[in-house]
Subunit: 373 residues, 4 copies
């Protein structure tokens, strides 16, 4: 693992997700760019001190040289480190599982794209919300035509943790780097959570955003990146939509919600209650589909661990990405391609996300003019 | 009553709302522009045949001449009739309670404005959703600063009844006139329900929309007006927002929902569950405020009839407009001004709604360019 | 109207319910047993002073003698007055609409039964929750076999308004008479709300309670009647169930909830959100049926006024009893029987309720022994 | 692990729960009483074939003799095997984590009690629902007096998976052993899920059931144990309650719900939405407490892994029992007592559950007579 030392939020999530299905063991890390913190964090996790590295390139070099070196690495650093770190491992044939967004800048994205294309190793991007069983089900339902032709996509991702200037208190490392354009990229809320919303909408509908008009704003005085974004979407095949993301909407903890409407039916899903999926066939009563419930699909059941009514959550959804990565890695070891590889977000999703962020920023700077992706 | 004969939806609603608190008796009507239907509809309602008129101007003239003539008239016709019908009564000093939107066109709106300004009679516009107790409470909470400075306004009004081409079946009069620009005005969903959403957002926040960027669309082939609208809002005092209205979103019956976020808290309300109001003070647990419940305000209690847990609904909210109109009329009879008159939607709300519709259509024709209201 | 003067809660509800569909005009009343209050209350309601009576028997006599005397009377007094008041009108051929429970005591119930049987006039008991559209739908679904054979009935009615000793403050007339065995009867919560729960369960399932085991309790020191009841039910046809009613459950405003499970499916309904009915056919996804929605039945639509998504509430449900009473009275005037008369609660429901209360009290006094009804 | 081979449900749950926080490695097993299945199941889990045992006593003996033998064992067999299996390990000083209920019979319970008392090893019983963060919070709130004195406890556990005679199809191993009194014990639903409900109610309130009156029933023809139970409860300190459990309630997947009401407030929680806890202080608006949200307690945060809005579920709650067991084992290794040991269900909870099952069966056989525990 690269990144994920003390004070980090997402590193611990990756570790649990990797461990949950028993597919991965954590054996080495460059857990912090501060050597002492890297060492302490490694010790706290029970790592062999010899395999606690201060720099990711040292780690890549050393691990590649070991006979028992790592097969895969998780990169969970701030965004600006993704590209160089991933490249260091990819060029040595080590598979990479990387947090989103792809990188902090378009230039870094291009660099990383080159590194990925030049390597035989796999690159997986943890757009983890695609791992939820009911999201898998929603995707198959849309693909099967249960909604008819998709017309409308309403997606939103609302939080409230940046309602006040948390990054200016000196006590919130998360808030600091996520609002620092040098580390996070030019997008604030749009990069941190807007990309998840964009990715989820595309994953479920199978559509892509062709044009968008974005009104980004920073409500908190002194904030250096956007903390709220209102975006009009035009997708392919004539669909239209809206995307709202916000980090300043009090009462919203992690409110990622997706609604899709076609000419034959509608779907609604919310991340905070992920075991449910509403399906409204036009002209019939709404149905509440549940994970492993009576109306659950094969696609959902394939990534479920517990019976209906025994709720799975964020970590299980995240673990489904890791489990998919494990299947993909094992297949690659056999010289094969995992049958469900296309369900795993990777370079394409990452580039789409970067283009989305970039388009939003350009549109907003031009007063919400339409920008073609 | 003008309009509201057989096949009409909103006429029956007005009649119940007027009757619910015992303030009005229905004694005369021009219930249909078809004389026979006017007569039959009047008979079905038990009206004196002498007071069943075939034309609204006949009714205005005759009733004004009677010693026991009507004091107030409800106008519940298709939109293009609002202006001439209202004028006929206003110029004879008869108070007018008129369905929304104000008129079908901006020219008619100007005519009606003149008629209203020239008359001493009252003009009330039934933006009925402002009558819900928890909406009154939301308004007072925002005004009292419970949310701090308002930053974000997310409002939507989603229905599904026009998902298919109901207006082309010959069996749905409602769908026919509401999608006919001659009768409904140039706005489809935006005029029929978008104005309600716009009105509600402004009523609760006390803000006005300064600029908007609207992407209107007709998803149903052959439809002559918009059936879906995606709109970016810039309100005064720095607030921003989104408005979505749709008549083609399967699973949504009458989904008017409002969310308002300020720097100190958030509010959420949905019309289909109107007795509840979520209040999230930043940094504290969310509270579920209920009508006549522990946290209910004076403003809400003043327009409530039953104790908490005994749900009130659409008709009671609508009746609150009529009850307010009755208070206003009685005050006017005494030469006074009712203390709660400002809570009643009237000419100002009507004109704001017309400007909103007009701005949406102009923006959308110009590819969602910003239009200043 | 008999009863329903100032400070009364249910009188105002009856008046609105009677007026809502335009079937009844309030023209006379014995609104209070205190003459001055009777007069003042009548004046506040705009009654002719000559028709404001101090005593219900004066009213019955005088109204029966008038050529324009009342056709029907609503009795909304405390329970101990129901029997004599109803008898006074019934024996003069005036139809009676009476609040529940039937009477305060079993002896009074027997008296009233005699009076009802001796009269040609109608007797309607306002077990108003049977008037909700989705309850009508639930009843027809059970009768149609949608649930298969009914096995389990879980019904509850939870409130919190008597959590503290409100009857001892001197400021709550409602609490005073409803906890006074002389006026309310020997049942406290069981009589006031438990009967509603019992009635609703029987109305929907078509079953009757054969045996019960009741554990009544007064949690508030000094309270003279039960404020909580836990009851085991054995119904006919092998069904079993539970009934819980409480007035001391903080957070419950008016929580009447019914769940019915058969061998083919289940139904769930809650009074505070009355426009919804959950239907779970075994082995299929749950469906959310809505009033006037896609899955609404004729039985529900027949007692609905507004389209789906335009919520109806407590007053509309109550008004459905009055509207049914009006149809029954008009049919009686023609010498006919209204086709939906069996849906209206009357003597049978009232006696069943009294036997239920009596059985609960006897069972509880015998330490929750089984009592056969 | 003893039990948990192919076709088992709860074995896989235990394995994930044990692994989730990285505290346990699975290295040995007697996964099935069928040797071939034991071997195959072990292989599927990657166990060393030498440590795949056909019989639990072989396993206990062999592992106790190995220098790298297991420190703890999970027993996830049908109930009748719990006692002998646990004893085999306990007498060799190996810690036991055992599925509930304690045993199939009271005699077995006495045997197991002796074994536990004779051993220095720990015995943990996976009443896993006590591991949910919001349940921990509910317990601390009750203990802190936030509800005042507890008056009413309403607990229920409703499922529908045995609505039909699944045990008679030959295709459902779970249904077979869970309805077989030889393997499951005399209690059906009451033993399988009723004990969870009983345990949860006691865990949260700190109260014990003193008397109960139980009406057990088998609705499915030919079923050998109860599939539904209606129970009246009298708890200590004057509280009263109801417990309903059912496996034949269509539409209920895993509906464990607890409501507790005191003289100052109420709490409501449901297992299917475990990240929420409703708190209603009497006379104030209801508050929705969320895991790691603004109102979350230390007790809840101590067993949470992800931020608010990132839902945790059944596996995380279950894992909290394992994490607690790990802390207890480590403390024991240091000769200490883990500070949170009292939060872990063990022998006392197990015996209370057995007495509860036994009392229910005795009461029901005596026509729901009161039985003192």
């Amino acid at each position: 693992m690269v990144g994920g030392g003390k004070d980090a939020f997402i590193g611990a999530v990756h570790r649990i997700a990797a461990r949950l299905d028993g597919d991965f063991d954590l054996v080495a890390g460059a857990l912090s760019s501060t050597p002492e913190k890297a060492r302490d964090s490694g010790a706290a996790l029970g790592l062999d001190p010899d395999r606690c590295y201060g720099r990711f390139d040292d780690m890549a070099e050393a691990e590649a040289a070991r006979p028992d070196g790592i097969e895969a690495v998780a990169i969970v650093t701030p965004n600006h480190v993704h590209a160089p770190a991933a490249a260091a491992f990819l060029e040595r044939g080590i598979h990479v599982i990387c947090d989103k967004p792809l990188t902090a800048t378009m230039d870094q994205a291009a660099d990383l794209e080159s590194a990925i294309r030049a390597s035989d190793a796999l690159f997986i991007l943890t757009h983890n919300y695609t791992g939820y069983p009911m999201i898998r089900q929603a995707r198959t339902m849309v693909a099967a035509g249960d909604l008819g032709r998709v017309r409308i996509v309403q997606v939103e991702y609302a939080q409230d943790w940046l309602t006040e200037a948390a990054e200016q208190t000196g006590a919130n490392k998360q808030a600091e780097w996520r609002t620092d354009p040098e580390r996070s990229g030019a997008g604030g809320s749009i990069g941190d959570i807007g990309t998840h919303a964009h990715n989820l909408a595309c994953f479920v509908t199978g559509l892509t955003v062709e044009k968008l008009s974005a009104d980004l704003h920073s409500f908190v005085p002194g904030r250096r990146v956007d903390d709220n974004a209102h975006i009009l979407l035009r997708l392919n095949d004539g669909a239209r939509g809206m995307l709202w993301c916000s980090q300043v909407a009090p009462g919203n903890e992690n409110g990622l919600r997706l609604r899709v409407y076609g000419d034959k039916g509608g779907l609604e899903w919310g991340q905070e209650d992920p075991n449910y999926l509403w399906f409204a066939p036009f002209g019939q009563p709404k149905r509440l589909l549940t994970r492993r419930g009576a109306g659950a699909s094969e696609a959902a059941n394939a990534v479920s661990r517990t019976p209906g009514g025994h709720p799975e959550g964020y970590l299980e959804g995240f673990a489904n990405i890791y489990a998919g990565a494990a299947r993909a890695i094992r297949a690659a070891q056999r010289g094969e391609r995992a049958p469900d590889l296309d369900l795993l977000p990777g370079l394409d999703a990452g580039l789409a996300g970067m283009r989305f962020i970039d388009a939003c920023i350009r549109s907003s700077r031009d007063n919400a003019a339409w920008v073609t992706l």
